[in-house]
């Protein structure tokens, strides 16, 4: 896992933009921040794992145990909240 980041605290805007960029690159779809990615016609469970690993690597966090709930990855907004919460918790250690 990445070392704790020494860069300035993440902003929600930055996280949201990065996630939307990744999703668009991988799925060729511009997802609204509150659209359910896993609803019918959405992305696969293989892609769910891609999202988990991408979020961990990009933001230097570890998503483990109860945080791996799919609800945390269901929308761009949900992922943004998760990233900010884990980044905050990580910087406090």
């Amino acid at each position: 896992m990445s070392e704790p980041t020494t860069t300035p605290p993440l902003s929600a805007e930055h996280v949201r933009t990065e996630l939307k960029r990744f999703l668009e690159e991988r799925t060729k779809t511009d997802w609204a921040v509150d659209t359910d990615l896993f609803a019918t016609g959405g992305v696969s469970s293989l892609f769910a794992m891609e999202l988990v690993v991408h979020v961990e690597k990009t933001f230097g966090i570890a998503v483990e145990g109860p945080d791996l709930r799919i609800d945390n990855f269901r929308t761009v907004d949900a992922m943004t909240a998760l990233v900010l919460r884990l980044a905050e918790a990580g910087s406090g250690e």
């Binding site: 293989l46 891609e50 988990v52 109860p66 799919i70």
Partner: protein, 366 residues
């Protein structure tokens, strides 16, 4: 790779793989001994008593074991997959308790498949039901590799509005483990069916303590398994290459070594191509794993599919080169022939891998 662990595994297997294959069992003390050294799940971090190997180093170790004995390698795959599932989904306390056991000699298996849920894991019918401070498990798991040896089985089932994995000690009342009689390959890997009949456990045995997405749960666990199987197949191919090359050099027909007969030489070249191709694709996938690349799930499917297909072809080729000398049960290429076939089935059959790869082919095309 860890030279120390490779030497340890080599010394334990020595010349015993054929005997284990014929007997359909590996002495449990061999497995416990290797487990206590952290060799069966060598990626587990040092803080849990593990060896903390990278995915790439563990892959090389896995291929080393796979070249000698696919049954032992299968046990490593199971133990590693159980450990990885606990590491990813366990709470801090669960990781600490369970992973430490798995690096201290306790043996573990994972249980996905059911009579009606093979390739289609969404059909898993095993239930995990809350009952106060406990959970109750009911279900029937089949073909759980290493379950015949296991102290704990990580059972995947339906839980609340989703799914969960539960660490089930096999001595819990209601757990019945029945070894699969005479499997086609990896005969000493301890494949077993596991029946769970009203199995009652403390709720803190549910990994993460909450319900998860079945798809994410199985994909994360299987990605480790696919990488491990892929490297195991590299080992099968290396074992076949060594045996076929040695035989082709030694054995003479029509007044010259087999290797000097062009049709046999072609077999040898194909074995080398298989070994190199499978190795490269596994290295690539493991490097994605180690760098935390999101592509790892797809790369693991690709590696497993390529390596298993190459292993099956390589094993058939090696038997052809050794001919009667390779057609005796227990012999390395005879084992490879049977073991490699199973590798095209487990952790995602060839056809399931192809469906996943086809989806990838379609990605990004409007």
């Amino acid at each position: 790779m860890s030279d120390e662990l490779a030497a340890l595994i080599g010394a334990e297997i020595a010349d015993r793989a054929a005997g284990w294959d014929l007997a359909g069992a590996i002495p449990p003390e061999v497995l416990r001994g290797l487990g206590a050294k952290g060799a069966l799940c060598a990626e587990v971090p040092a803080e849990y008593g593990g060896r903390g190997l990278t995915g790439r180093a563990n892959g090389e170790l896995t291929s080393h074991a796979g070249a000698l004995c696919s049954s032992l390698r299968s046990v490593m795959t199971s133990q590693g997959m159980a450990a990885w599932t606990i590491q990813r989904f366990g709470t801090r306390r669960q990781r600490s308790a369970e992973l430490t056991r798995l690096t201290s000699g306790a043996l573990a298996a994972v249980a996905f498949s059911e009579p009606q849920a093979g390739s289609d894991l969404s059909a898993i019918a095993t239930t995990i039901t809350d009952d106060g401070d406990e959970v109750v498990l009911n279900g029937h798991k089949v073909w759980s590799t290493a379950a015949a040896y296991a102290d704990v089985v990580v059972v995947f089932g339906r839980y609340q509005d989703g799914a969960a994995a539960v660490v089930v000690p096999t001595d819990t009342p209601g757990v019945t483990v029945s070894p699969v009689a005479q499997p086609l390959g990896c005969r000493a890997a301890g494949h077993a069916d596991v029946v769970l009949d009203g199995v009652r456990l403390p709720a803190d045995r549910v990994l993460s303590g909450t319900s998860q997405s079945l798809g994410l749960l199985t994909t994360l666990a299987l990605t480790y398994g696919r990488l491990s199987v892929a490297w195991g197949c590299v080992g099968i191919i290396r074992g076949c290459l060594r045996a076929a090359a040695a035989h082709a050099r030694r054995r003479e027909q029509f007044g010259k070594p087999l290797a000097e007969h062009q049709l046999v030489a072609r077999h040898l070249s194909e074995l080398l191509v298989a070994e190199q191709t499978a190795t490269r694709v596994c290295e690539h996938a493991s490097d994605r794993w180690d760098s935390g690349s999101p592509e790892v799930s797809g790369e693991a499917v690709l590696a497993k599919h390529v390596a298993a297909g190459r292993a099956a072809h390589a094993a058939a080729t090696a038997v052809q080169v050794l001919a009667s000398a390779g057609s005796v049960d227990g012999e390395v290429v005879a084992r490879a022939y049977r073991d490699a076939k199973l590798m095209q089935i487990i952790e995602g059959s060839d056809e399931i891998c192809q469906l996943i790869l086809a989806e990838r082919a379609l990605e990004g095309v409007a």
